[in-house]
């Protein structure tokens, strides 16, 4: 039953580059040999996690989205360590802005990089229009999430009716086929296996069993689609606590390579039920990032100018953090 590649009739292929080719059997072998099933203590600092698992040229992604439950302490540490030529997927607000401004990003599977209520991202414009980012492959938010879901399911592709008929499809790396059951046209989205994923959660135990409150974004999919997974958590809890409510474990330990205890890890973004957005600090980036010089000055002060996340928090100051806690979403 040997099959030639491409024996399926593909109606059309997007012209975008598949900037992260995948091999499911190789991923399986990785998951077999590089992901221990032992319950081992994976706690470490941001410094150690980034230096051990992120490398120049790797394909990396962050969850969720800029100002919302985003692994900002990890994103800043990555800038401090200057990991470069990154290939990056998806959506981003502050976190990708920092990487773009620091000149660390080479290729993008892009869905949205902007500043939400504050409009477009100057950092993205500078990086793409100057050619510093050499490739932008286009996807919709749904499509990029489904690409991770394909990898999470262990299958080579998922079909979708998104992207049809548009340039978004033409500038993607998706393929157009007809469903053999009904003849309907669908786009096939190739599996996306990340080299590294960074996810911030409400709580995790020392082994990496992780729980999230509120919306789950694409955490379940990204965690399962990554070869290396760094979890940062607002709180480290006992495994007994995890075992008490096993249905809340959205990321089981065996997926996780590092657990970083990062209180206020999403700052200046929010963490539902723990703290709200730090609007002045977000605006500080919005303003600073309008020019390359301003962005550099911000990086110098808030990222490169501090040794680690705890120095960053000290720089922000207890009063501001307390104010954010006051603004948190509550359960009634």
């Amino acid at each position: 039953m040997a099959v030639m590649e491409g024996e399926w009739r593909v109606l059309e292929s997007g012209r975008g580059e598949l900037i992260q080719p995948f091999d499911l059997d190789e991923f399986r072998e990785w998951n077999r040999t590089k992901k221990t099933r032992k319950l081992t203590d994976k706690r470490m600092s941001e410094q150690e996690a980034i230096s051990r698992f992120v490398y120049d040229g790797c394909y990396i992604g962050t969850e969720l989205y800029g100002t919302v439950r985003c692994p900002m302490s990890l994103a800043r540490e990555l800038v401090r360590q200057g990991k470069k030529n990154l290939r990056v997927c998806g959506q981003g607000v502050l976190e990708l802005d920092l990487w773009l401004s620091a000149g660390l990003v080479k290729k993008l599977d892009i869905t949205y990089i902007g500043l939400e209520v504050y409009g477009t991202s100057s950092a993205l414009r500078r990086a793409v229009e100057s050619g510093q980012v050499v490739t932008c492959v286009e996807w919709s938010n749904g499509a990029i999430s489904w690409r991770m879901k394909a990898a999470a399911m262990g299958v080579p592709f998922l079909p979708t009716r998104s992207m049809l008929g548009t340039d978004t499809f033409h500038y993607s790396a998706a393929k157009l086929v007809a469903d053999p059951f009904t003849g309907a046209i669908v786009a096939l989205l190739p599996a996306l296996i990340l080299d590294v994923a960074l996810i911030h959660v409400h709580r995790a135990d020392q082994y990496g069993n992780a729980q999230i409150e509120g919306i789950s974004g694409f955490s379940a999919e990204m965690a399962r689609a990554a070869k290396r997974l760094i979890i940062s958590a607002e709180e480290i809890v006992s495994t007994d606590e995890i075992r008490k409510y096993p249905e809340r474990t959205i990321i089981p330990y065996y997926l996780v390579d590092a657990v970083v205890h990062a209180p206020y890890g999403s700052h200046p973004g929010e963490m539902a039920y723990i703290y709200g957005r730090d609007e002045p600090e977000i605006k500080a980036w919005v303003e600073a990032s309008k020019t390359a010089e301003g962005a550099q000055a911000y990086l110098d002060k808030f990222v490169l100018g501090v040794k680690d996340h705890f120095e960053y928090l000290k720089l922000i100051g207890e009063d501001k953090l307390k104010a954010c806690v006051e603004l948190r979403e509550k359960r009634y």
Binding site: T111, I113, E129, R161, A184, E270, Y273
Partner: protein
Amino acid sequence: MPDPTYTKTELMICVAARLFEDASTCFIGTGIPMLAAMLASKTSAPNLVPVFEFGGLGALLEELPRAVGEARTFHKALAASGICDTMETAQRGFIDYGFLGGAQIDPYGNLNSIVIGDHDHPKARLPGSGGGNDVGSHSWRTVAIMQHDTRRFVQKLDFITTPGFLSGPGAREAAGLPRGTGPIAVVSTLALMDYDPVTCRMRLKATHPGVTIEEVVANTGFELIIPDKIDANLAPSAEELRLLREEIDPEKLYI
């Protein structure tokens, strides 16, 4: 008495808000759609079911969300899941309306939010599709909310990010998009537009107070269908303005 002090943005929000159907499921994007949804839920659509792409469904819009994933998008919500569930809900036909923005719109309601100029050597790199393409593909009806000028209302997009009617009648279905879906309206700073059912081209439906047809035409970079009968949009009511200014956007993030 209408308050004469309203801005174009406030008017646009009010006109958009009046389009919301009560007890319908609506995809709400960041920005103006959020204000319109919130205003609608406090006026004509108290049973509106807001859907935010990263997982919030049926939230009570007591405070204005400032991002599509933040806690206010699932404040006292009926469900808080993830983006795949939400997008699949749309793909399954459960989302009635999508409210969208964009940098450019063409006569068929296609939207561009990716690039100005050539994709690979852009004049301006825009944020990207985000959920826009998904919302425009799967929602039953989409409404675009746009500033109205000739740079935005163009004959030909630099890039089709989000499908309107694509190249015209039947093009969506031919491309494989779900049957019976498509754009129904554009709310701009000057007017309300809909689409001619035969040609699928954009058509003036109602002008805003104080705006002439000529002004709309002059600010539109393509031939807009001008029917014999054109309605006039009502100015914001005092209550609409009060809600907008005092309850919805007291911090003046948008208005």
